[in-house]
């Protein structure tokens, strides 16, 4: 055996189990010798250069020793294999949202409980940072535990999770839950939360966002804004909330509900545009006189972008369900 062949074989066997190394090394050595002899043919005294060239050719045909070693080892070349992947996905789907929510709420509560004059921005920054850290840690822990488990447990020892069947699948195992209905309810609940947040805007003090010094802790809305505008604003929000409540209760995916929601959306955008373009809606002390108009125009543009986006995404979802 030449030095080159010896190095090649060492590269193949060095990552293999101790017990099989000598056997595999002997077999590859014999193979390489057979292949070289076969290629040298009947030549009784081949030149050293020719022999070396044939040896290189044979080794290159056998290929990368790392790949050959992997073929021999026959061990999984993945951390989480198909056996554990459904469990991995199921765990991520359930654990990560819970961890994220707990971390977010915990950080916000702690900030407001321990800081005498807490600002919203002061709470949001660390809360998001700590939540991301918590999510990454949870992801790493889940991945490591399931990855290690993938190498240790057999099929029978794995817990049953949705999509993982030990017995042959029958039609009775079909998940008959109304997926569209659940999705509609979730979207409606999120919509209600968003509407509540919008309804609270006229009451939010500027101190919550570090700009309290500009109007001595007043609201973001012009105090001289007519009551009718505010009532109209809340009335539109109440209509939108009613649509969301209907969607939540009936889990309706009917186009009629979406059309009514869309009409109210557009009507509210028209109402807000009229309000913004006819008077100062934001508190005058929050912006300079020259910048107020530009600010309101930008807000109107933003409102219409959101409305158009909302309409398009709603119709895409409905079309996808048909």
């Amino acid at each position: 055996m030449t030095v080159l062949t010896g190095i090649y074989i060492d590269n193949v066997i060095r990552h293999l189990p101790e017990g099989s190394r000598s056997d595999i090394a002997a077999e590859i050595t014999a193979t390489i010798s057979d292949m070289i002899d076969d290629r040298l043919g009947e030549d009784p005294q081949p030149s050293p250069e020719h022999t070396a060239a044939v040896e290189r050719e044979v080794l290159e045909e056998l290929g990368d020793p790392a790949v050959l070693s992997r073929e021999y080892s026959n061990s999984p070349q993945h951390f989480i294999g198909p056996k554990s992947y459904p469990l991995f996905l199921w765990t991520l789907r359930w654990i990560l949202p819970i961890v994220g929510l707990i971390a977010l709420l915990d950080n916000i509560v702690v900030t407001f409980a321990t800081t005498p004059q807490a600002h919203l921005g002061e709470a949001i920054g660390p809360a998001i940072g700590n939540t991301v850290t918590a999510l990454l840690t949870a992801f790493a822990v889940i991945t490591i535990l399931i990855g290690l488990g993938d190498r240790r447990v057999d099929d029978d020892a794995l817990p049953r999770v949705p999509g993982r069947q030990k017995v042959p699948w029958t039609i009775d195992d079909l998940d008959r839950r109304d997926i569209r209905g659940r999705q509609t309810r979730a979207e409606a609940a999120l919509g209600l939360v968003f509407i509540l947040a919008l309804a609270a805007i006229p009451f939010i003090p500027t101190t919550l966002l570090y700009v309290g010094h500009l109007n001595r802790g007043g609201t973001f809305i012009n105090p001289d804004l007519g009551t009718g505008w505010l009532v109209g604003y809340w009335a539109f929000l109440a209509l939108l909330a009613a649509v969301e409540i209907v969607r939540f209760v009936t889990a309706s995916t009917r186009p009629t509900v979406a059309i009514i929601g869309g009409i109210i959306d557009v009507a509210m955008a028209v109402f807000l545009t009229a309000a913004m373009l006819t008077q100062p809606v934001f508190h005058p002390e929050l912006t300079s006189a020259s910048g107020a108009e530009v600010q309101q125009v930008i807000t109107v543009i933003a409102i219409w972008i959101i409305v158009v986006w909302d309409q398009v995404s709603t119709w895409r979802v409905i079309r996808g369900w048909r």
């Binding site: 056997d23 595999i24 002997a26 077999e27 590859i28 014999a30 193979t31 010798s33 057979d34 292949m35 076969d38 045909e61 056998l62 290929g63 790949v67 050959l68 073929e71 021999y72 026959n74």
Partner: protein
Amino acid sequence: MDEDAEKALATHEQELRRGTVVFASLVACRRPQYGYSLLTTLTEAGIPTEANTLYPLLRRLEKQGLLSAVWNTEQARPRKYYTVTDSGAEVAAALHTHWLDLDSSITKLWKDGTP
């Protein structure tokens, strides 16, 4: 055939060959074969196989109990000889039956589908 079709063909051929090599190795090892002799036998039979695929495969078949292996040190060069075991022979016979069934099914399907 365009480039994508050629790539797809290569993938499917590889999959087809993978199963075929197991079957062909069991059949060829009805008489004792060492690695290189088996490689040559398969190539001459029209089933070209890469050495880096065949040798690990032989070990796996040995672990599965379908092949038995014995080192022959009587010759100038020690060689490991593989022979099909009783259960390996049963598996080979079953695979042969499946092979013939598949062959007739595909032939029929091909004829039926030929305009």
